[in-house]
Amino acid sequence: MSESGIVQDFLVESHENLDRLDRELVGLEKNPKDKDALAGVFRTIHTIKGTCGFLGFNKLEKVAHVGENLLTRLRDGQLTLNPACTTALLSMVDAVRQMLKEIESTGQDGEIDYAELRETLTRLQHPILGDAGSVPRAEAPPAPNDSKAEEKVENTATLPKPAALREAVAPETIRVGVNLLDKLMTLVGELVLARNQLLQISNTVEDTGLQAVSQRMNLIATELQEEVMKTRMQPIGNIWAQFPRTVRDVALGCGKEVEIEMEGKETELDKTIIEAIKDPLTHLVRNSVDHGIELAEVRLQAGKPRAGRLILRAFHEGGQVNIEISDDGAGLSGDRIRKKAVERGVVTAEQAARMSEREVFNLIFLPGFSTAEKVTNVSGRGVGMDVVKTNVEKIGGLVDLQSTLGCGTTVRVKIPLTLAIIPALVVTCAGERYAIPQVNLLELVGLEAEHATSAIEMVHGVPVYRLRGRLLPLVYLRRELKLAHAAEHAGSHDDAVNIVVLQADDRQFGLVVDEINDSEEIVVKPLRKQLKTVKTFAGSSIMGDGKVALILDVLGLAQRASVVGESRERPAAEKKAESVGSAGEKQTFLLFAGLGGSRMAIPLNILARLEEFPVTQVEMSGTQWVTQYRGQILPLVRLAVVLEERRHRLRALQAPPPPDSGPIQVLVLNHDGRTFGLVVDRIIDIVEAHADVRSKATRAAVLYSLVIGERVTELLDIPALLQIAGVNTVPPDQATKAAGVAN
C-alpha cells in the first residue's frame, strides 16, 4: 500500500476513534473507577500515538504521548479521574482532531506544538507535587493490552483484522464511499421509473410471458429499492453521540449540572436528513442546557433534584420520525414572551393578549426573537430558533414547542424518513398529472354527479363540503393553478366530483380534481431555480410513461388558497367545532369586539376571510381607507368611523392610520357581489346561536341586538353600514334580505 493510502486509512480510523473517545471520556466522568473504559480510552490513544510515530507526525505523537502518560496513571489507579483531567483529555482530543484536519489538507501535522496543553497534561500526572517539569514515566504499555486494543477495533468493524483474535459474533462489514451509495440511489431511482414504464406497457400487451417477467421485475425492483434505501439509513444515535460532550461543555460553561438521557438511538433516518437536522438539534440541545435548565441552587429551591435532566427521544410515527428534546428546567413564561414580543413590535399588545399559550410559545421561532435575559456565548444572541425552524422546514419537517412554567420545555421535531423516493397519489387535472405526497393525504371522497350539486354548499361563494358533519373548505385545483377552462368548470357540478382530503399544517381542506389515478412511488427531483418562486410545487418526477409530472406542495397550495397561514382563524375554527352540538335552528356568527369593548357580530356566511394588514399597507383613496388585496382595491370600512357621532366622523375619515400602530384586523366580507374589508378591534370567536332572543337596535348600522353566550351582542346591518360608509348603495329591501341571516 502506498504511504498516502496508509495516511488515508489512519485518518478515517482515527476520526472514528476520536468520536468514541468523546463519548467514553464523558462516560468515565460519571463512573471514574470503570477500569475497562479507562483501558479502552488508553488503547485508543495508544494506537493513534503508535501510528503517527510510524508515519512521522511528531507533534501529534508528542501530544498523544503526554495524554497517554496521564492515562497510564489513571488506569493503574495512581490517580483518580477528576473534571480537570477530563477537560484536559478532551482538549487533547480536540488538539488531535485539529492536527488530523491539518494532515488531511496539507499532509503535515501543522505548526502549533500545543506546549501549553502538554504542560497541563504533564502537570496533572503529579497533582500533589505540582512538579510540571518532571519526566514522564516510561510509556511502553504491556503487550496483552496491545492485542486487546486490536480486538476492540475489530468489534467496531472498521479495521482489517488480526485474524487470530477475530470474534465470531462480529458482523462482517466493508467500508463503502458515500458517493457510491448516492450513485446507487440515483440508479435505483431510474430503475423504479423504468419499472413503472414496463408495468404500464405490459398491462396493454396480451402476453403472459411478458406479464410474468414484468411482475417479477416489479417485485425485485421494489425489494432492491427498499434495500438500497436502507444503506442510506443511519441511526440517529450517530449524531446524538456528540451530545453528551456538548451538554457537558455547555453545562460546565454556565455552572450547571445536567444529565442527558437518550431513547430510541437506533431510530433510522436517511443520510441526507440526518445531516440536515444535525445543526438544528445541536442548537436545541445547547439551548435547553443554557436557558432551560436552572442552576443547581435554583433547582434545589424549587424542590427539584440538583442535576437537570435532558431527554432526547426519537421514534417513528406514521411514516415520519419524531424527535423530542425535553428538559425539566424552568419552562417558558408566556407572559414574558408576550411582553418581549410587544416590546420588539412583533405583535401588538392586543394580539398578544388574544394568543393562546401555544401560539405565544411558537413566537420564539420568529427571526430576531430571544427571551434570554442576558446574552451568553452559547445562545441568546437572537439567532438560532428561527434558523432551526427554517432548516427543519426546508426538509419538509415541522417544529413545535410545548412548555409548562416551572416544569420544563419540550421541543418536538417531525421530519420525513427520506426525501428521495416518496409514496404519492397521482391525480389528473386539465389533462396534466400531479402527484400529492401521501404524508399529506387523509382520505378520498367521490361524489356522484347527481349528489354533487347538493352536497357541495356555498358559504357566500366559498364552496364547502360536509364531511361527517364538519365543514371542509373546498379548493379547486383548476382554479388555483389557473388551468384552462377554469371558469366553465368552477361553478357547475354536472360531473362526478373527486375530493382529495388533505392535511396542511393543522388544517384540513378538500382538493377537487378531475380524476384520481393511483398511488405510486415517485422519485422526487427538485425544481430548478427558475421555478423556485412557484410555491405550489415541491418538485417534479418522471412518470411511468416518461412524461414529467409536478409534485404539489400541499402547504404552499393551502397558503395560496388561503386555507392556512394568512389569517387568524385557527383558534376560532377549533372552538367552533366544539360548539357544534345540537344543531337546531341555529345560526353561525362571527363575534368581534366593537367600539368600547361591546360585542358585535356578523353572520358567518358573508365572511370571506379574516386578514391582518400592517398599517403601512393602508392607503388613502380620497377620504376612504383602502388596501391592495389579491390584485384588487379593497375598501376598508372602519366601525369607529361609521358608528361614532357625526361630528367626529369627518375628521376621523380624513386621517390615515397612525404609522406606528400595530397591524389592523380586517374581516373581508362579500356582500351583493362586492368585496370590502371591515376593520375591527379584535376577533373573538365563531359561535352558533339562536337568533330569537333579540331586541331593537339602538344605533344606526345595527340590525338588532341578541344574546350570544350570555352577553348582549349587536348584529351589524351590513347594507346600512356600507351606505353610511359610502362604499355601496343597495336598496333597503335587498339589504335586509342579505343581512337577515338566511342559512
Binding site: L527, R528, K529, T533, F537
Partner: protein, 149 residues
C-alpha cells in the same frame, strides 16, 4: 495571431443568435413539455431528458420577442448553466460557426432594457450579424417575473 471561437447558432424569428459551443450540451427536436402552472411566463415547462428533468425556457418570450406561431416547430438547445441543464426553445438550428475576435463588437447603445443584459455583443459575419447570447443570464429568472395565466 487571431483568437477564434466556435458558436452554435440558431434562429429566433429572423434573427441569428449564437451561444458558445462549449456551453451547449446537446440539440434535440421538440420533446413533450409538461407545463408548470403559475410559473413565470418565460418558462415553457419541464421536459424529460433521458431521466433528467430540465426546465425549458421559451427564448422568444425571454428576449421579449413576438410569440412563436403555434404551428411552428420548436428545437431545444440544451445548455449547461450554473444550476444544471436548461433547455432553450428556439425556432431553427443553424450551423456551428467559427469567428475571430476581430469581428466582435459591443451591442449598439440603442439596445436597451433587459435584453441588453442577455446580448453581450455582435459578431459581424460575412453576410449577416450574429447576436451573442449570454446563456447564464438568459437562464436566470428575476424574482416576481411576469406570471403566465
Amino acid at each position: 495571431m487571431n483568437h477564434t471561437s466556435q458558436f452554435c447558432t440558431f434562429y429566433l424569428d429572423k434573427l441569428l443568435f449564437g451561444v458558445e459551443l462549449k456551453t451547449v450540451q446537446e440539440v434535440i427536436r421538440s420533446l413533450e413539455v409538461t407545463q408548470v402552472p403559475l410559473a413565470p411566463e418565460v418558462v415553457s415547462g419541464l421536459i424529460n431528458l433521458r431521466g433528467q428533468i430540465v426546465t425549458a425556457v421559451d427564448l422568444r418570450r425571454r428576449l421579449e420577442m413576438e410569440p412563436r406561431a403555434a404551428d411552428l416547430p420548436v428545437m431545444n438547445v440544451v445548455v449547461r448553466s450554473e444550476d444544471g441543464a436548461v433547455s432553450l426553445l428556439v425556432d431553427e438550428i443553424g450551423d456551428v460557426v467559427e469567428v475571430e475576435e476581430a469581428s466582435f463588437e459591443r451591442p449598439p447603445e440603442t439596445l436597451r432594457g433587459s435584453v441588453r443584459t442577455m446580448i453581450t455583443g455582435v459578431h459581424k459575419l460575412k453576410d449577416r450579424l450574429m447576436l451573442v447570447l449570454d446563456t447564464e443570464k438568459a437562464c436566470q429568472m428575476a424574482e416576481g417575473m411576469v406570471v403566465g395565466q
